[in-house]
Every structure is written in structure tokens, then in C-alpha cells.
Amino acid sequence: MKPPVFKYLRVASVQEAVSVLAEYGGEAKILAGGQSLVPMMNFRVAQPAVLVDINPVKELDYIRPQDGWLRIGARTRQRSLERTPEVAQKCPLLAAAVKWIGHPQIRNRGTIGGSLVHGDPTAELALVATLLDAELTIQGKGKSRTVGPADFFEGVMATRIDEDEILTQVSFPVIPPRSGYGFRELCIRHGDFAIVAAAAQITLGENGRYAAARVAVSGAGAKALRIRGAEEVLVGEIGSAQVLDAAAARVPGEVEPIGDLKGSEAYRREMAKVFVRRALEDAWSMVKEN
């Protein structure tokens, strides 16, 4: 479990990173927290010829509320998301989800951008980004673009980012007033990769009915999935156990799980429903209290 020889470059700025990436093309890989990449290199599953270490890039380490968004630099540590009060205030679902990422040692090093670009289908951050329609800002040489989750997450360990590009910023919408949220995860042990995880956020309108609803699951497809059917059931309704049941009942038909050692296809499909129902229950009980 030792990697083969690779070239190691430290960069101090986004600009420098982008020009190094342009120089080495597909041979280079960005090293952020290294919590997935380094084990993969040790297993020789990943054998990048060049490692571009962006840990010194301080300009990518920030958490900033701005214009109704929470803007987060891509090199921000997961532990910072967990511990920065603004995250809990402006985007509490994100703060709740981050606690489910691995263990403290992993979150101390792991970054938000690293997790998103890696594209693990059960990653908590990808689920939250999918649920909340996060905006992902990507910098290439002389060009910058911002995309939503649908144009970013492609499949298992696959994201749409070019070899010469770097993810620089992730923006989450600030939670609207009269909203509740829930994040639930099923794993065999604490800190494991999720078998399934579910996230929900609902917003009450002035009339006491659900004005907006967001529902997403991971572990039930090649990437995190929005459950639009469940959202449609919820919007315009008054919260009740029956409504939540009806929303959750839409989950099995909208997921495409693949069975493995930790759960059969049928189990994952059912758990996606159960955990969506539980996440909705959490969200509902929050707005009920309002």
C-alpha cells in the first residue's frame, strides 16, 4: 500500500493552480484534504503523475454570507463548516450533514471542494448540494463558470469538471424564514459511508401550507437524487402525517439503487423511503414549533 513515484507541486494561489493544471493536463490531480485521494494512491487505484497541493491556497478558505447565499471557498475544511456559527445560522442543514462525514480526524483535513469533486455517490456534501441547488464555481485558465448540481454530478465518482479546471467556490442558499429541515443517515457503524442518507427542507407559506419543499436521497442511485415527486406532493399541502407518508411513498419509484454487501436493492429502495419520511418528520416538527 505505497504509491508509485509522482511529482509533487505546492501552489499558493488559484491562478498558479490553474496554470499548473493547464501545463500537466490529465496527468495532474489536485490534492486538497487527501482523505480519499491518498488512500486511493496507496491502493494504486489512482496513479496521478503530478500532485498539485492546494493546501497553501488561503484565498479558497472562507465562509461568507452574501446576498442571500452562504459562499464557501472550496478549500475550506469540513471541520470549519461544522464549527463556524454562520453555517449553523444560515444553512443549518449543511451543519447537520457535516457531522455525518467520517470522523473528526477526517473532517479536520477533508475539504468541501474535495468531497464534491470526488463524486462519491453517498457523500453528505453532495446530497446537501443537490438538495439545495448549490452553485458551484469553477475556474479554468482565463475562464470561470458557475453550474448547478445537475450539471456537475454525473455518476459514481464522476463529476463534470475539466482536467484544467479547479472548483473554487460552493454557494448554498440561506435557509428561508419559517423553514424546517432534516438530515438522516443509515450506516452500519458511526462514521461509515452511508447505506442511504436523506435530506429534506420545507418552508411554510403565510397560509400555513407548504410553500416550498426539497427532498433528496443518496445511496439509492449513482449520485444523490432529488425526489421531485415527493416535493410535488408536499407543496400546497398542510403538514400532516398522511401528507408526509404520501410524499415518502413517492420515493421508491424515483430511485435506482444497486445492491451490495451492505444492502440489497430492495433494502436500499425501502430505506430511502424510510429515511426520507424521517427527515421530513424532523423538518415538519421544526416548522410546527414556529
Binding site: 500500500m1 505505497k2 504509491p3 508509485p4 513515484v5 488512500p39 491502493f43 494504486r44 443509515l186 452500519i188 457503524r189 458511526h190 462514521g191 461509515d192 459511508f193 447505506i195 454487501l261 451492505k262 444492502g263 440489497s264 433494502y267 425501502e270 430505506m271 424510510v274
Partner: protein
């Protein structure tokens, strides 16, 4: 800081929770582990491993690898076949097992070639350049399929995958089953699982050609049976093969008994390349190619009277030992011969034992060796019997437990249970759990549709293996033949010495792996010599060239508190006796008039006439003329403690397979989430009778450690293979060890019945809960699912497995209930 004993127990260190003397070094990162060691000019080994579960090795071409930077040499199967011999086996059949594959690979991960290079990185680079031509063969991983007609045969010379079979009978099982009012039967599957010590296998080997000496440093835990086994494989002599073990080992749990093939492999690599070679196994290698317990299929039946008296057990067991039978296998099958019938007064046993090879990694000792498998089938069948008889599982156990007045108790299989109060332990467990109330709460919860279950397990926890048990694998006819050399014994040696200034050192050969032997030895010797534990220096580690060791030397089978502690106490007593004799000579008094008090030898009734230990010890070195006539100068004593009950098996295959036997009564209460299949442990009570306790804190640590290991077997850990023989658990992502988060707080109780066979009355507790926890939790889960008509017959129980049982039960609970009522 010096520690002081409580005033109520002056000079009595044994029985106190004194701080572990080992921890200062370990907690400050100053432990000396094998990987901390470097030899001048040392190279590093990496192993190319088979991607196939079963394949003929047609050719190995290392020519390109040899040209790569830093590569010193490559050891191939061809070299191994030429330079070494197959390891000797504990069965009659001629099985060829070498340290790496010679002409055929028999499991995924089996060594094919070894690269020796300047560092591990370069060595792994070179692995990628070795070209191997394989001819894949059909694999078999299922133990039942491996014995079918037409199954792929792993070792063509044997013509069968069954490497050992004994049809053993004790008492009169036919009569027992004929008399029975009820007979219950079930098929059980126990998974392949391991211990995953924090420190993996680590070896440094060096060959010195002028004197023809091979030195192997390793974190090997014993038994040193494997020294002669390795001598034979390396075609050398005992006094030319040196095993050295450093003072610190990062956990072993039985798994490091099975590392001798890696030791021999590294030695051959060193011999071939002419340089010292270090091999540090990585985690992937450890999970895929080191060792584990066996997976076992059992068909078992229990016969009983209506009143719950269990008359007999009839069973067929099939142990899956993987691609080769590796010594000490087939011990997983026979290690528990003496305690096959557990803590019960059952008199009759029919035991059809098969040991089978398949395309999985070979097996060996794993904490609780053979007993997890045994008690899973036994304690589950007893619960099924209780169900059938509509008896409370606590009552059926109480009815059949060996009564307290019957100790020492000889079992039908030859075990001699030295001491214990089994009924008191069960009662204490029930009382600590508030059993009656727990059952009432369960009843209430069930009415609300909640899945709450209570499980019990009562098991005998054997400690100090008698190596004679392994020969149960042979027929009595073979054992009585002239070509057979009987085996028996469980001895351990300790040395206590006093240097010229009177300081005490104790040398132990038990290669402790974290158990706290140093602390316990200091407690024992402090008591024997009336000094402070801080004044006792304990030297651990091992060196076969300079220590007094034997076949049974090492730490395994929870043996230290029984045999190691006894050897230490007896050696200290020999030292004390010598001190008293010298003092009697000096003071010109009768030996019987002297006593040892607070570090002084004094005349009874005239304590002013005294000599300090230091003074007497000093005299033995500095003034040898002043010794009694005929006495040897210096102060040192060695003592080898052995148990007379550790005899070879008799003609009826009865053997006292362990010298002492502890007892455990466990109770678990669980609740299952009916939607997800997740299990919550709401309460876990574990009561132990492990004799007199030397250090309660250390025993508590052993109980917690063994509990979590048992928890792994129940819910988390499995070295899983798919049907094509591919290994599925190559990292800790897939091989799931429980962590502190998964471990509940335990309610621990003790009943202390001193063993009459050990010097301090103490016996083993290190493996304990690994044996009881898997089945206790299985029983609790089964009890929770009982309203659905589901049963538990395999482990581990992951949430999706339990969920599936719930689905099956919910969809067909009516007919199943009806069937049960018949």
C-alpha cells in the same frame, strides 16, 4: 510516583487495580515495536499476491523487475520449493504447504513472489513488473460444496478436500435420543472473522552464512511449537534458528500465532538476497492473506426430557480452514474437546467432525478459538429447545448447569472443570439485569408492536491449552502406534533474580501483546517478597537463544493468569526460600523461626533481629564464603509451572483440553427498529467467574475488549468472499470492526471461586466475552423476532439481514406461527 497499597491491605498487591506499568512508554509513543527496529544495510520486502482463488502457476518472470531501481532480488515459488520444505502438519495426510505458492495458488492473496528492494515503495513498483502466467481453475469457497462429488480438488495428491474427519462419540448418544421427549434440530453458519490487531505482522530476518544462523525478529506471540515447525521448513537446526520478539506487540489475539509462514518467507528472502530483510504486512494484506477463525457449518440436534433435562447432543460440524491446513489447525475443531458440552450436565455427545479445505485464506487461532463457533450452535439450540418446551431460557439453563457441589467436574469429553459457581453467576446476571421486570417490560413493548428481545448465554471459558488436545485429530489406533509421539502439557517458565545490590528482575517469556503482564508480575512478586511493585523490574520480550522456553511458551489461550502467574509466584518463592536459608545461617537460627516482613527477614517474636533483603542478596553475591555450605552463590530461580491434568487424550478420545476453566453468564436486551433492522443494545450484563482476580482494572479491560470483539462477530465483521472466490473485505471500509461508538456500557459482575490448580487461584479472562457475546446477541435478536416466527441461524447480523427476516416474517407470520404450535 511510587504507589502505595491501601492501609487495609498493606503488603497485599494482588487484587488491587494498580496502574499499568506499561502505559507510560506506550502513551508517550516510546514503545519498542518491531517496525521501530532497523538493521544496517536492511532491505524491504513486498509480496506479489494471487488475484485468482485457484490457479496453476505456469510461469513467473521476474527479469524486468530485477532491472528496476533499488531492487536487490526476487524470491519466487520455485526458489521456495528448492530452498525449503513443506511445513509439518498436525494430521497424517501428506499436505504440501509452503510459505508462498510453489506451483498452484489456492486463495486470493496467496503469495506468489517476494521482491526485496531498498524501500517498500520501490519493492511495490517492482511487483507491477513481474509477469505471472496463471491457468485459472474452478474455485470452491463453500464448505458444503467442497465435499460434494465432483467439487474442485485443491490438493490433487489428497484426492479430497476433507483434510481431517473424526466421528467422535461420548456416552451413549443413541440411547439419549431414543429416550428423549423432544428433539430439536437446526443448521447454523458461523462466519469467518478475525481480530485485526492494530499492529500487523512484522518481521525482520537476517542470515549469517559463516555460522549458518538465521535470526528472525518478529511480533510472533507463540506458541513456540512454531519454532520446530519453522526449523523443519527452513531445513536448519533448532540452535541455528533464532526467534527474537521485541518487548512491545501491538495486539495479537491469536492471529499472530499463524505468522510463521511470513517469518519463513522473509528468512528465505534474506537468505537468497544476502541482506537483512524487513517485511511489514500492510492492512490489505492482513485482511486478505494473514489468518482468521474458521467459518463453520453445523447441523445440530438436542434431545431432552419434557422437564427440560438435556440428555444429549448430536452434531455434524464442518470447519472451513481455507486453502491449506496450517498448524495449529485443525485445532479450531478440537481445542474445545473437554468443554464441548459447555457448562451443562449433559452426558452424551455424538460429534461428527469434518475439517475441509476451500479457496479461502487459511485459518488459525482467533481470540476465543473454536469456542465462538461451539457456543453459537450450542446456546442457540438450547434456546430453540426452551422455545419448544415453552420454558424460560434462564430456567432451562439453570436446570442443566453443573451444580456448585460437583466441582471439580469431569465432563464426558474428558475436561476437568477445576472450580466455579455457575448457578451463582447466572443468578447474579439475572439479578443485575432485573430479569423478571425486563420480561414484563418486554411483554408490554411487544403489545405495542415493538421488537424487544432478551438473550442469554452461559458458557465455559477455557484457559491454558493442553497441547495434547490437538492429537484428538488422530484416531486412537494411530495414537497408540509406535510411530506416534504423544503430546501433552501447558508449561510456562519464569525467572526471578536479585542482583548484587538486591534489586529484583523478573524475566518472562510470555511475549505480552498488551495484556499487562509486566504490571501483574510486579504485583505478584511484590507480595511474595514483601516489596513494592515499583522495585520489581519485569523483562519481557523473547529470544530462543538465551531464554528457557518450551513448546508451550507464549501468550495464547488466556494462559497467563493461570500458568504464567503461577510460574512467577513459584520462582519468587524459591528466591524467598533461598533468602531465608542464608539469613538463618547468618542469624544462626532455625529456618522455621524466620519470617519475611516488609523487606526484612526477621526472627519471629524478636523482630529486632533482622536482615534486609538487600543485605542478604548482597551477601550471596559479595561474600560467597558466608553462604550455607553447599549453596550456590547468587540469587536466581527459575520455575516451570505445568498442570498434571494436561495429559494426552485417552483411548476414548477424552482429553482435558485446557488446564483451567472460567465461566461466563451473559444477558443482553436489544430492541430492533422494525423499519430498518438496526439493533440497539439496551442492556448488556456479563458475569464472570475467572477465579481470584489479580488486577480488577485489567480484567475489566479484558472484558470490554473481548466484548467488542464478540460484538464484531455478532453484527459487523466478516471476511466475505463471493461465489467465484473473490475476496470482498480488503479494507476497514468493508471489514467493519466496531468502534467505541458502537460499544454499550457493560454491567459487569464477578463471582470469585479460586482455582485449586493455580498458585494464586486465578485463571484466564482475556478471551472470555468473544465466546459468549456473538450468541448472546443472536439469542436476543432471535427473541425480539420471535413474534414474527423468524429464527437466527447465521452471523453476522447486519441491518439488511435483520430487515429481510422481518419482511419474511411479516409476510408469512401466520403459517409459521401455526407450524410452531404443532
Amino acid at each position: 510516583m511510587p504507589q502505595t497499597a491501601p492501609a487495609s491491605a498493606i503488603k497485599k498487591w494482588v487484587g488491587q487495580s494498580i496502574r499499568r506499568t506499561e502505559d507510560r512508554l506506550l502513551l508517550t509513543g516510546k514503545g519498542q515495536f518491531l517496525d521501530d527496529m532497523k538493521l544496517p544495510g536492511m532491505y524491504h520486502a513486498a509480496v506479489l499476491r494471487s488475484p485468482y482463488p485457484h490457479a496453476i502457476i505456469k510461469s513467473v518472470d521476474a527479469s524486468e523487475a530485477l532491472t528496476m531501481p533499488g531492487v536487490r532480488g526476487v524470491l519466487t515459488g520455485e526458489d521456495v520449493g528448492r530452498m525449503s520444505s513443506p511445513f509439518p502438519q498436525a494430521v497424517e495426510e501428506p499436505l504440501e504447504y509452503y510459505c508462498i505458492a510453489v506451483d498452484r495458488a489456492r486463495y486470493v492473496g496467496e503469495g506468489i513472489a517476494v521482491v526485496v528492494a531498498e524501500d517498500r515503495y520501490l519493492a511495490e513498483d517492482a511487483l507491477q513488473a513481474i509477469r505471472v502466467e496463471y491457468e485459472p481453475l474452478p474455485p470452491v469457497v463453500d464448505v458444503e460444496k467442497a465435499v460434494e462429488e465432483g467439487a474442485p480438488i485443491l490438493h490433487p495428491k489428497l484426492g479430497t478436500n476433507i483434510i481431517n474427519h473424526r466421528d467422535l462419540r461420548y456416552g451413549d448418544p443413541e440411547a439419549a435420543f431414543a429416550q428423549a421427549d423432544v428433539i430439536v434440530g437446526e443448521k447454523f453458519f458461523f462466519p469467518k472473522y478475525s481480530s485485526t490487531p492494530m499492529e500487523t505482522f512484522a518481521v525482520i530476518a537476517q542470515y549469517e552464512p559463516i555460522e549458518d544462523i538465521i535470526t528472525i525478529w518478529s511480533n510472533f506471540q507463540g506458541p513456540f511449537t512454531m519454532h520446530p515447525v519453522s526449523v523443519a521448513a527452513l531445513r536448519t537446526a533448532e540452535n541455528r534458528l533464532r526467534f527474537i520478539v521485541p518487548p512491545d506487540i501491538g495486539g495479537a489475539f491469536g492471529i499472530k500465532s499463524s505468522m510463521f509462514p511470513q517469518m519463513v518467507m522473509t528468512a528465505l528472502a534474506a537468505k537468497k538476497t544476502g541482506v537483512p530483510v524487513k517485511y511489514i504486512e500492510d492492512r490489505m494484506e492482513h485482511l486478505m492473506s494473514s489468518s482468521s477463525g474458521t467459518d463453520r457449518v453445523t447441523y445440530i440436534e438436542a434431545a431432552a426430557r419434557k422437564d427440560g433435562t438435556i440428555l444429549g447432543i448430536r452434531k455434524k460440524e464442518m470447519d472451513n480452514v481455507g486453502g491449506y491446513l496450517r498448524s495449529p489447525e485443525p485445532a479450531c475443531m478440537y481445542r474445545s474437546t473437554g468443554n464441548q458440552l459447555g457448562p451443562y450436565t449433559i452426558k452424551n455427545l455424538a460429534w461428527d467432525a469434518y475439517v475441509v479445505m476451500t479457496n479461502k485464506c487459511p485459518t488459525g487461532p482467533n481470540r476465543g478459538y473454536g469456542c465462538q463457533q461451539l457456543y453459537f450452535e450450542m446456546e442457540r439450540i438450547i434456546d430453540l429447545l426452551a422455545d419448544r418446551l415453552a420454558m424460560d431460557p434462564a430456567e432451562i439453563r439453570r436446570k442443566n448447569l453443573i451444580p456448585t457441589d460437583q466441582f471439580p467436574y469431569t465432563t464426558p469429553t474428558g475436561g476437568i472443570y477445576d472450580a466455579g459457581d455457575y448457578v451463582a453467576c447466572l443468578d447474579m446476571a439475572l439479578q443485575k439485569a432485573d430479569y423478571a421486570k425486563l420480561r414484563q417490560e418486554q411483554e408490554k413493548a411487544r403489545k405495542k408492536g415493538r421488537l424487544v428481545g432478551i438473550g442469554l448465554a452461559t458458557v465455559v471459558d477455557p484457559s491454558v491449552t493442553n497441547i495434547g488436545y490437538i492429537t484428538v485429530a488422530y484416531t486412537p489406533e494411530f495414537r497408540s502406534s509406535k510411530k506416534f509421539n504423544p503430546k501433552s502439557g501447558s508449561g510456562e517458565t519464569a525467572v526471578v533474580k536479585m542482583d548484587p545490590l538486591g534489586q529484583v528482575s523478573v524475566i518472562i517469556n510470555t511475549v505480552p501483546e498488551g495484556q499487562g503482564h509486566e504490571t501483574i508480575v510486579a504485583q505478584i512478586v511484590a507480595d511474595e517478597l514483601t516489596i513494592s511493585p515499583d522495585d520489581v523490574r519485569v523483562v519481557s520480550g523473547m529470544d530462543t537463544f538465551t531464554r528457557f522456553w518450551s513448546i508451550t511458551t507464549g501468550t495464547y489461550s488466556s494462559r497467563f493468569a493461570s500458568v504464567g502467574a503461577s510460574a512467577v509466584a513459584m520462582a519468587a518463592r524459591k528466591v524467598k526460600e533461598k533468602l531465608l536459608k542464608i539469613a538463618a545461617h547468618q542469624l544462626e537460627v532455625d529456618l522455621d523461626d524466620l519470617e519475611l516482613v516488609g523487606g526484612f527477614i526477621q526472627v519471629r517474636g524478636a523482630p529486632e533481629r533482622r536482615l534486609s533483603i538487600r543485605r542478604v542478596s548482597g551477601l550471596a553475591h559479595w561474600n560467597q564464603w558466608g553462604l550455607p555450605e553447599g549453596m550456590e552463590p547468587g540469587i536466581h530461580a527459575s520455575y516451570t509451572y505445568n498442570f498434571p491434568c494436561s495429559t494426552p487424550p485417552d483411548a476414548d478420545d477424552r482429553v482435558d483440553s485446557s488446564a483451567t476453566y472460567s465461566f461466563i453468564a451473559d444477558l443482553a436486551c436489544v430492541e430492533i427498529d422494525p423499519e430498518t433492522g438496526q439493533v440497539e443494545i439496551k442492556k448488556y450484563v456479563t458475569v464472570h467467574d475467572c477465579g481470584s482476580i489479580i488486577n480488577p482494572k485489567i480484567v475489566e479491560g479484558q472484558i470490554y475488549g473481548s466484548f467488542v470483539h464478540g460484538l464484531g462477530g455478532a453484527f459487523y465483521e466478516e471476511m466475505a468472499y463471493d461465489e467465484s472466490g473473490q475476496y470482498l473485505a480488503g479494507s476497514f471500509v468493508d471489514y467493519m470492526c466496531p468502534t467505541a461508538v458502537e460499544a454499550p456500557e457493560l454491567i459487569i459482575g464477578h463471582v470469585e471461586t479460586p482455582s485449586p490448580l493455580t498458585v494464586l487461584g486465578s485463571k484466564g479472562c482475556g478471551e472470555s466475552c468473544t465466546m459468549s457475546v456473538p450468541v448472546c446477541l443472536a439469542n436476543a435478536v432471535a427473541d425480539a423476532l420471535k413474534p414474527l416466527g423468524a429464527t437466527i441461524n447465521r452471523l453476522p447480523l447486519k441491518p439488511h439481514d435483520i430487515w429481510q427476516l422481518i419482511q419474511d416474517g411479516t409476510s408469512s407470520s401466520a403459517p409459521k406461527d401455526a407450524r410452531k404450535r404443532k
